[in-house]
Symmetry: C2
Subunit: 484 residues, 2 copies
Amino acid sequence: MPRGPAGRPWRFDINLADDAVDPAPSHERLARALVREIQRGRLDAGALLPGSRVLAESLGVNRKVVVAALDELCAEGWLEAVPARGTRVASVLPTMPVADVHASRTNWHSTAENKPDLQVSDGAPDARLAPLEKIARAHRSALTKLSRGGLGYGSAAGDPVLREVLAKFVNQARGLSCNMDEILITRGSQGALSLVALTLCRPGDFVAVETPGYVPAWRAFELAGAGLVRIPVDEHGLVVDELEAHARALEGKLKALYVTPHHQYPTTVALSPERRSRLRALAAEYSFCLIEDDYDYEYHFDGTPLLPLSATHDPAVSTIYLGSFSKLIAPVFRVGYLVADAAFVKRASLVREIIDRQGDFVLERAIAEPIEDGELQRHARRARRVYRERRDTIVSLLQSDARLKDIVQVDCPAGGLAVWIRVNSDVSVSAWSRAAAQRGLRFAPGATHVEQGDPPAFRAGFASFSSAELERVVSVLSASLHDL
Amino acid sequence: MPRGPAGRPWRFDINLADDAVDPAPSHERLARALVREIQRGRLDAGALLPGSRVLAESLGVNRKVVVAALDELCAEGWLEAVPARGTRVASVLPTMPVADVHASRTNWHSTAENKPDLQVSDGAPDARLAPLEKIARAHRSALTKLSRGGLGYGSAAGDPVLREVLAKFVNQARGLSCNMDEILITRGSQGALSLVALTLCRPGDFVAVETPGYVPAWRAFELAGAGLVRIPVDEHGLVVDELEAHARALEGKLKALYVTPHHQYPTTVALSPERRSRLRALAAEYSFCLIEDDYDYEYHFDGTPLLPLSATHDPAVSTIYLGSFSKLIAPVFRVGYLVADAAFVKRASLVREIIDRQGDFVLERAIAEPIEDGELQRHARRARRVYRERRDTIVSLLQSDARLKDIVQVDCPAGGLAVWIRVNSDVSVSAWSRAAAQRGLRFAPGATHVEQGDPPAFRAGFASFSSAELERVVSVLSASLHDL
């Protein structure tokens, strides 16, 4: 007989409304019912749940339904899996987004009556899936070791242990062939972008960028004094012909191309194999550097991930490869990296010393641990399965919604944590975004990804949402179309 | 009867060489003897020691000697105090400096036979005194809260909780009067310097700096395209007359003065009250900004700390005040801050988004906790006592060494974590530094703090060293003079 938190025997008196009353799938109804029990305090933080078999029997439902409900609640952060012991109520229950914490300074549990705003990201992962406990433990032990040990100053290129572990990781997982002297640990991908820009560019230089594209990267090149050359993107990625015309016209002043070939930001398309090889040839001919931002390599769902441009070694092509742990773990970990030849890493280290001397060695060491022991790779595989399902869910919800299906077009992306939603040109996406905000759904219109104008499209991150949350996203999108 | 780690009763068979054999003070001899016991494994990690009274009796020494020895070993990280339980062997024993960890990848305990290099910092605190356990716990709880809670993106100005707590802290402790909108959390003081430089300066601007001075700050202004104007420093601090001449000649192109008025870097002198008021008047007259780096405010030993220049509110004078937790806790925590008017904080936040988007909210929240509950302030008071003693120790060691006393001159600084050691002009400090390195002592010559030349002086941080370590520093300094 399962026992309650204080050892009292109790029964799961969960009232599952039947199919006729509530059309949601039964695992969803069970999940909501369990959340209510937690919110009422009948299930305390830390309380161990009975096994799925016992639960299924006592509730009179199929065991698969129970497993699906528990999985969902683990992903949402209400429950957590305890190795070899089962599932328990999370010690810290889901709270509101960081940005809003200050307003209330108290934990706040979402209830059916008082739903928090949903924020559609540009492709954030679900931090609820990440091995945070493991990283917290590793952080604590790294803190004790590194703080006691010495002055706390070290190489501006980053913690040597993480650089070594990471070299192995990118060589195995992404087909690169680098050693630790070719790696520099950065403050997230933005830290890598500003560092590359300030190391590479002088006033008078030009950098080519994709448009629509990742505007924070544009700003980094501008901060370093570079001028921008905007190259359009079509369904095969960057239009290489246009790039060639500019490279020729700029006569040696084109310093670099910033490109997202794997899952173009924001359109999600992959750069075609033919354009990839033309790009490399152009880089060699016009001596510009390829800055390849591979921000979510792990999350490729259909077919094999394309190898990075930087994976083909060719002494005539100079590449700087950028990666990050923000997508692989959680954005709150501002740790990214660049891979480039050792001479560039040295130059960038000198600039890095000026920018902020060095990174956070404690955090860097803490992240090295789950890479070294394979936990991060296992997490990536698990997360990939979850995100693929969520991608399928959002695409099918968008395609089947009665109102939306005539207004939007969405191609199922082969990878990445966001979809690119194209909208009939008679709809102003900026106006739609404002209307949705009134209904508690915040999303950035396509205007975010261009210098000016209101393109008929937007990027919607899906990976951080459970299927129930995705349903809410799509239903608010649909409802707010009406308000326009 | 005290019991050993496994509950076995044991006696402290510590063999204290008597005064005739070993001239070290008896608490030093006891401390070294205890370290040997730990290294031999007779005292396990975590083992609780008998009380000082019991220890004193069984060793036949004065209890004060025992207390002094235990204090010293706590400071060095061999022992740790357990609230209400006494003193135990540290769970993690002192290891080598971060920068060297990679070479061996194993923990390494210093022994009398195989001493590690001593690295004289430019004024680092002793991380062994810092409330690291508390911060580690706070970090873990912040990680769980913030990562589960949301996307992990927030304001580029930093964690709102830390900004609020910090505003109270600097208002109370340093006489400022700011609110959280006037605070921006940075990546250590270097992160503040590069951010201020990139926000404030354009190519063609000039920034005045002290010379000798803090060269990493110079590099930040140069990175932003500014030209430098070097102003000399004498025994009253920055020579304000020279500054005035330059301000007049530059006709409005002098954007800012970077100054360390409290404990000038590297000379440790305080800016005289008369010059402080002239400086403020000049800043108003020539409309340049005062960038005041108050990197170790807490550590003022003699008399009351001078109020920051930024504490006097005057709408005609624009100030940017820089502080950091690197000195207050440990350099491994790369968290600093700037205090300026809200409009500047907004502009700097936009630049910060380009540099690295935002800080580490988990670490920032973890640091807010010990400020809010007063633990950090208690730590600062304790550390101040320890550092004052260490200052007195290094000054008296330098003044009493038979060889050094004729070669060096050192004034006892009123505050700060370093002394400025002036050297007879016939000694090349760079050559001395190289000779000392051969004997395992690394220190930076005065050449580090000027654009060119080998000034007859150097800065020596003392705060991270126990008295035994300070003795070793001075004895190697003395011995290596012979090698020149």
